[in-house]
């Protein structure tokens, strides 16, 4: 095994375990027939931005980044972290981390991966002057507030220090126990020295540390992205095929038809129009598995009707008036699972039996009762319509929200309806400017597999994605307490206590957990989907 020569101590066990399971898995699928030189094709959307770690915040670019780059750690199929470039990540207090890199790691152009590559890349990502979309990911590092201040020209965070070629230290502004979990996210990937000469050109033709590299002129905009195996890659995600070519699809229905005719190998997500038939169209060639994402409905706290005790009751009434299972069965053909808390079942620490989660179960009688009690305290304005705002430019949103509004109307005796807006940008403006007059469609895709990622950025006071302006000091306190723990397990226990507070306040109404319905062609084997619903492309073998 080539791994054992370069990887040490901690790495070896994890890497070996993973390699063994991977081999075991492929034996069943006919590994002997697998052709490791054949290129596999998969669907993708055009990356929104140049392929830079700190500027890639959407799936189209993210899928490519995760193959072309690797971080200190990566996530295995279950979302557990596995060391990639890191040899060890040590901390005693969850605030000061010492990170050691494996020696001999290389970028795809052959240059060595050093501690400085990480520190420089993170500083670049955090600095306001570079306007990187993911800059907020560095906010826990000491000194972030200085480099990310408006008009700031500084680009060195004081919390990052290079010790030697393979060691650096990170000081956070406060203890954060899930910091190591984040390090596999795109924003934390290293950049080679040469990137900064012309960062825009680099984004078009990145040089990374991942299992693949861009083919010569591989990114044909709006058409395809060709990746070939990176022979310098040493790690748990070694390519088992001759390359991955992403075909850009603007319409998922077209991608579905392509897989049907075996002109495309892997489709990550079956479009709504195919949900009814994909299992029979692709017998034995599909998955339906939950991933780290959920769908919710935000009821902003700035709405006067939803303030105070009456407001709490109304939130609960609305939540209990929604028959989640019925919508899942009728509209999503049973492809999702009703939510019983605020995170996702694929995340470590998930608990299906949190006290107080009965507010997420359908109970029309109790819902009506609560609504009337709320009316007795503070009457619902006569003629007021409960609206749920959503963009309807993509398929799928309109149908379920209309169904949900109908259920709320019927079960609570008020008028509820979808408030359609034409585009995502219009919806985001309403949400960001806090000018909604009712509820809005929401949801979360985890950036990294952690309970905190589903809670902190969404419900912490003043947090970046706290669309409903929710604020509860007790909840904030719990988050802080959870982060200060020295182990992920201890942290998760406290985060679940924080969730109990959310179940009382219901800043959003959790609806269901997202699941990936993926299909593949007759030409490939060993297609597995990861914790985030993205196929593990490097494991796929051609027949």
């Amino acid at each position: 095994m080539r791994y054992s020569r370069t990887s040490k101590a901690l790495g070896v066990a994890a890497v070996l375990a993973l390699t063994l399971t991977a081999c075991g898995g492929s034996d069943g699928g006919g590994n002997a027939g697998g052709d490791t030189s054949k290129v596999i094709t998969a669907d993708n959307t055009e990356p929104q931005n140049g392929l830079l770690p700190a500027n890639t915040n959407e799936v189209g670019g993210g899928k490519v980044m995760d193959l072309v780059f690797s971080g200190l750690v990566s996530y295995d199929v279950n979302g557990k972290i596995v060391n990639e470039i890191a040899d060890s990540i040590d901390t005693k207090d969850s605030q000061n981390y010492t990170i050691k890199l494996k020696s001999g790691m290389k970028f795809s152009d052959g240059s060595p991966v050093t501690a400085k590559n990480f520190v420089d890349a993170w500083n670049f990502g955090a600095a306001a002057k570079n306007a990187q979309l993911n800059s907020y990911f560095f906010e826990s590092i000491k000194g972030y507030d200085k480099v990310n201040a408006e008009k700031s020209t500084e680009d060195k965070m004081e919390g990052l220090k290079v010790v030697d070629d393979t060691t650096f230290t990170v000081e956070l502004a406060q203890p954060e126990s899930d910091f190591p979990l984040r390090l596999g996210y795109t924003a934390f990937y290293p950049l080679p020295e040469s990137a900064y000469d012309d960062i825009d050109a680099f984004g078009q033709n990145p040089v990374g540390t991942g299992p693949y590299k861009l083919a010569e002129g591989g990114w044909k905009h709006d058409v395809s992205i060709e990746l070939v195996p990176n022979e310098n890659y040493e790690g748990p995600r070694k390519a088992k095929n001759g390359g991955v070519t992403f075909t850009i699809f603007s319409n998922p229905d077209a991608a579905y038809t392509s897989v049907q005719s075996d002109t495309l190998d892997i489709l990550q997500q079956v479009p709504p129009s195919g949900l009814q038939n994909y299992e029979s169209d692709f017998k034995g060639r599909f998955v339906n598995q939950p991933y780290a994402g959920n769908a919710t409905m935000t009821i902003p706290s700035y709405l006067p009707e939803f303030e105070g005790e009456a407001g709490s009751m109304r939130r609960q009434a609305i939540s209990m008036a929604i028959d989640r299972q019925q919508i899942i069965d009728k509209i999503f053909y049973g492809t999702k699972k009703p939510a019983v808390e605020f995170t996702s079942p694929v995340i470590d620490g998930y608990k299906a039996d949190l006290p107080g989660n009965e507010v997420l179960k359908f109970d029309a009688a109790k819902a009506k009762d609560l609504w009337e009690k709320a009316d007795a305290i503070k009457p619902w304005p006569a003629g007021k319509v409960f609206t749920i705002t959503s963009n309807i430019d993509g398929p799928g949103n309109k149908e379920y929200i209309t169904a949900m509004a109908n259920q709320i109307s019927t079960n609570l005796g008020i008028k509820a309806q979808l408030n359609p807006v034409s585009s995502f940008k219009e919806m985001r403006e309403l949400v960001n400017k806090k000018s909604l007059t009712g509820a809005s469609r929401a949801g979360w895709q985890a950036d990294y597999p952690s309970l905190y990622n589903f809670l902190g950025p969404l419900y912490g006071t003043g947090a970046g994605s706290n669309d409903g302006n929710y604020s509860n000091p007790k909840f904030d306190e719990k988050l802080k307490e959870g982060l200060a723990q020295t182990s992920v397990e201890a942290g998760n226990k406290i985060f679940n206590e924080a969730q109990e507070i959310l179940l009382k306040d219901l800043p959003v109404v959790p609806l269901w957990y997202q699941a990936a319905q993926g299909v593949w062609s007759n030409n490939v084997n060993n297609v597995e989907f990861g914790w985030n619903g993205v196929p593990l492309y490097y494991n796929v073998t051609a027949k």
Partner: protein
């Protein structure tokens, strides 16, 4: 004729500026915040948001935004997309694809449309005429996306005669199917226009004269009837070329053709003024030129028409 052409080109200038101003304003006036959409619902640091707004002049009032756009335009700089690519490059990739598709669709509808139209017109009331009339009616009645999906499923998936979606940069042969779908509806119109025009001209005085002086039937049809009957058809085809060059959002979507239609649609959704205005600007030029060609063709087809 030269003066006429020149005059028409001069007219292009106010039309171009009027259209770009209007389109720029329309995109500006669509509700929504493009920068907010860039973050995709995830948080965005205020300093980053500020910097992005400044980069795309979105922090400026409308007239300054448009002025800055025009200033760039004069130096042949079409601006950048929100993904930081040059609009000129983006359009440069999409237009050849759409042009190929449009030319094939246009050739298809012109050749078969006129051919079927002439035969139907000459044999008015016969079986062929009836079949063509009913057939074209059905094609007109069925929406394009239904035609597209059905052909894609039958020809592409079930029979496997063609790729159901185009690959890479959309080579000519893979565009046959989408071009067929795209041209089918217009084909029906061309057939009907030609047929009506032919059957009307058959009873015209000059046709009777030509027949009376002993010209062969072939010559009467080809030179006397057909040429005069083509004027409405050419007008239709000219306008259709403009429409085709604007991209066909539905057809391009079904067959995953990386053309202008889809580019325009995405740009409108994102509120990307630079791209929308550039595409529309080119379209304006295409329309004006196509119409000019049509007008010049009139003189060629009908000797009674003269331009001075």
């Amino acid at each position: 004729m030269l003066m006429f052409t020149l005059r028409r080109f001069l007219q292009l200038i106010p039309v171009f500026f009027g259209a770009t101003l209007l389109v720029y304003f329309l995109v500006f006036a669509t509700p929504g915040d493009p920068i907010a959409a860039l973050s995709g619902g995830k948080p965005m640091a205020p300093a980053v948001e500020e910097a992005l707004r400044a980069q795309y002049n979105l922090d400026q009032p409308f007239w300054i935004q448009y002025g800055l756009y025009l200033k760039n335009l004069v130096t042949l700089n079409l601006g950048q997309t929100f993904s930081g690519q040059e609009v000129a490059a983006v359009i440069g990739r999409a237009y050849p694809v759409t042009a190929r598709l449009a030319i094939m669709a246009l050739a298809f509808e012109a050749i078969f449309g006129v051919l079927f139209g002439v035969i139907a017109g000459l044999r008015k009331g016969k079986l062929f005429d009836g079949t063509v009339l009913v057939g074209s009616l059905i094609v007109i009645a069925v929406p394009t996306f239904v035609l597209g999906f059905v052909l894609q499923l039958v020809v592409g998936v079930q029979l496997g005669w063609a790729r159901p979606t185009v690959s890479g940069t959309a080579p000519w042969d893979e565009l046959v199917l989408p071009a067929l779908v795209l041209g089918l509806v217009s084909l029906a119109y061309v057939i009907r226009l030609t047929r009506a025009s032919i059957s009307e001209n058959m009873s015209a005085d000059y046709v009777r004269t030509a027949t009376a002086k002993g010209l062969s039937r072939r010559r009467v049809v080809m030179v006397h009837i057909l040429r005069n009957s083509l004027i409405p058809v050419v007008t239709f085809l000219g306008a259709d070329l403009g429409a085709l060059m604007g991209g066909a959002i539905v057809t391009e979507g079904i067959f995953n053709v990386p053309g202008v239609g889809n580019l325009l649609y995405q740009a409108i959704l994102k509120g990307e003024s630079a791209t929308v205005v550039a595409v529309v600007g080119i379209l304006v030029i295409v329309f004006v030129v196509a119409n000019l060609v049509v007008d010049l063709l009139y003189a060629l087809l009908d000797p009674r028409i003269r331009y001075v």
